[in-house]
């Protein structure tokens, strides 16, 4: 865990351009690399800030940049089910399994994705919730489907209702032509784990460079201890709970004893 935090910190401080042929370099950092979720945590916002470093080989004509920030949380398999009316009652019938999809996904940019790049680039660079790859298992096939597929759009919509999937095309603000910042809202129900942040720099509809950083969300306190024990030590947990029940019952019979 410590190693991961260190790596994340180093990763964010010493970020090098992925494509050295290009002239720009991105330097980014997030306000906090380790978010602790306590029992009364009600959501928080991280801030990502950075700058675009130019050098001598930067074309002088290049005036404005576009940025797309993708934050993806720990991955998991999820099932989306659809209810249908059968014999007069509503029953879960059809379902799709989404494989290894992010439990949290946020896409931020400084202007609408279709203004930043062509549809082809949007698809290839996975810009926007409609273009992010969400692998489904359909029978024995593994594939993503068209964005307007009923299960896919329901999945994205339900995650968005909980604040876990979001897309904001005005969240990234340029403070100067090269200095930028964006907020990363983390709702109360945020899943714990490592979050990858990918920052892509575009100019004139072309990806110039990209960089990555990461942060970690950990839950602390009694509640987390209970949740971990329940998962890892079901037997001991069951015994303790049963014993607690018996003690409560016994205490009550003493406190309220009438005879």
């Amino acid at each position: 865990m410590i190693l991961r935090v260190c790596l994340a910190a180093i990763g964010s401080l010493l970020v090098l351009a992925a494509t050295p042929a290009r002239a720009e370099r991105l330097i980014v950092s997030v306000s906090n690399h380790r978010v602790t979720v306590t029992p009364n945590y009600s959501g928080e916002e991280l801030v990502l800030f950075g700058s675009v470093e130019k050098d001598a080989s930067t074309p002088a004509t290049r005036s404005s940049y576009d940025l797309v920030v993708t934050v993806s949380g720990p991955r998991a398999d999820m099932v989306t089910r659809r209810k249908e009316r059968k014999f007069g009652i509503w029953v879960n019938t059809d379902y799709r399994q989404f494989l290894n999809v992010p439990t949290y996904l946020a896409l931020f940019s400084n202007r609408p994705f279709d203004a930043i790049a062509s549809p082809e680039v949007e698809r290839r660079q996975q810009l926007g919730l409609n273009n992010v790859l969400l692998t489904q298992r359909v029978g024995s096939d593994y594939a993503d489907v068209v964005p307007n597929d009923a299960f896919r759009s329901a999945f994205v919509r339900l995650r968005a209702e909980h604040g876990l999937y979001r897309e904001e095309t005005s969240a990234v603000t340029f403070l100067t032509p090269t200095l930028f910042r964006t907020g990363i809202p983390l709702p109360a129900a945020v899943p714990i784990g490592t979050y990858d942040v990918e920052i892509k720099l575009f100019a004139d509809g072309v990806l110039i460079t990209k960089t990555e950083t990461a942060f970690e969300i950990v839950k602390v306190g009694f509640e987390q201890f209970v949740a971990t024990t329940a998962r890892q030590d079901g037997f001991v947990y069951g015994l303790v709970t049963a014993f607690m029940a018996l003690m409560t019952g016994w205490m009550a019979s003493i406190v309220f004893r009438k005879d």
Binding site: W90, Q224, A242, M244, G249
Partner: protein
């Protein structure tokens, strides 16, 4: 005061849950039942996943039935032999119930089955109790004495082999129906998150003909052991028991039960049955409405192997 429930994975208001526990405890103390059939639906209605509600209520019922069983034990109102035979069926039924629960959950049909079983069981039992209570009141009003229930139609149960003498209850009865009853109660208890007292007591009185003196105490022992067993099995197989939720419910429940018991003594028996019947019927109908009206959202997401 908001508190985050570790297993249910949602923040809840502690006082709301405490008040729910106390209200259900009051009702359960008043009618001498465990109250699981009210507690589980209430938790589902405030947004706790049905699977977590069922598993957590099991430990809540264990607490309230233990405090009840202790006081009945002091009054020697428990038949140990009868309890043991019931339990041999009850533990098997509970294990089968938890297994069925796990299976249904993996098929995505658990919520539906919980709702359907509630509709069928509660409307039937509630309807019968309501009808019975109503008839008793009408009879009393017309001045007709309440007829004593005489034996007759249940003769075949007493003709079964493997008879055994239950000394404290002073009955001589085959173990087959006793084990079967234990099995059924254990099964529905584990699947539906109820103690089953409101079904077990009438069955024991009217079908097994156990004298009323030992009925409630003995049924509480069965409830206690099956619910402790169900808590263990749910914790080991499904990891769905929310101990924090259970503790709040227990504290509210055992307190409310004391006041309920006092209130219950002031109401006449047939009125009590009529009220209980109405209450059970209302919960059943609430579930039925939920099933037939179109849900707000036809889609649901579930993390593979997660609680919500």
């Amino acid at each position: 005061m908001q508190l985050y429930l570790p297993i249910a994975d949602i923040p809840v208001n502690v006082f709301l849950i405490l008040a729910m526990g106390a209200a259900v405890g009051f009702v359960s103390g008043m009618f001498g039942i465990g109250g699981g059939f009210l507690m589980t639906p209430l938790l589902i209605f405030v947004g706790i996943a049905p699977a977590v509600a069922v598993a957590s209520v099991a430990s809540h019922i264990a607490a309230s039935s233990f405090s009840g069983a202790l006081s009945y034990w002091r009054r020697r109102a428990i038949d140990p032999a009868l309890a043991l035979v019931l339990l041999s069926g009850g533990t098997i039924g509970t294990a089968l119930g938890v297994w069925t629960f796990t299976l249904l959950r993996s098929l995505g049909q658990l919520d539906l089955m919980i709702a359907l079983s509630y509709v069928v069981l509660l409307t039937t039992v509630g309807g019968l109790m309501f009808w019975e209570g109503l008839r008793a009141i009408l009879r009393a009003r017309r001045g007709v004495p309440v007829p004593m229930r005489r034996s007759g139609s249940h003769g075949w149960i007493h003709g079964l082999p493997l008879k055994m003498r239950f000394k404290r209850s002073k009955i001589y009865l085959s173990v087959i129906p006793v084990i079967t009853v234990g099995l059924i109660i254990g099964f529905i208890g584990a699947v539906m998150g109820i103690g089953g007292g409101f079904i077990l007591v009438p069955i024991m009185i009217y079908i097994l003909r156990v004298p009323t003196a030992t009925v409630i105490g003995t049924s509480m022992v069965l409830t206690l052991v099956t619910m402790v067993f169900a808590t263990m099995l749910h914790a080991v197989t499904n990891h769905l028991v929310d101990a924090v939720l259970a503790l709040i419910l227990m504290v509210g429940g055992v307190t409310g039960a004391q006041f309920g018991a006092r209130a219950g003594q002031k109401i006449r028996g047939e009125h009590l049955r009529l009220l209980l019947g109405l209450l059970i019927l209302a919960v059943g109908i609430r579930f039925a409405i939920e099933l037939v009206i179109r849900p707000d959202d036809l889609f649901t997401i579930r993390e593979a192997g997660g609680a919500a």
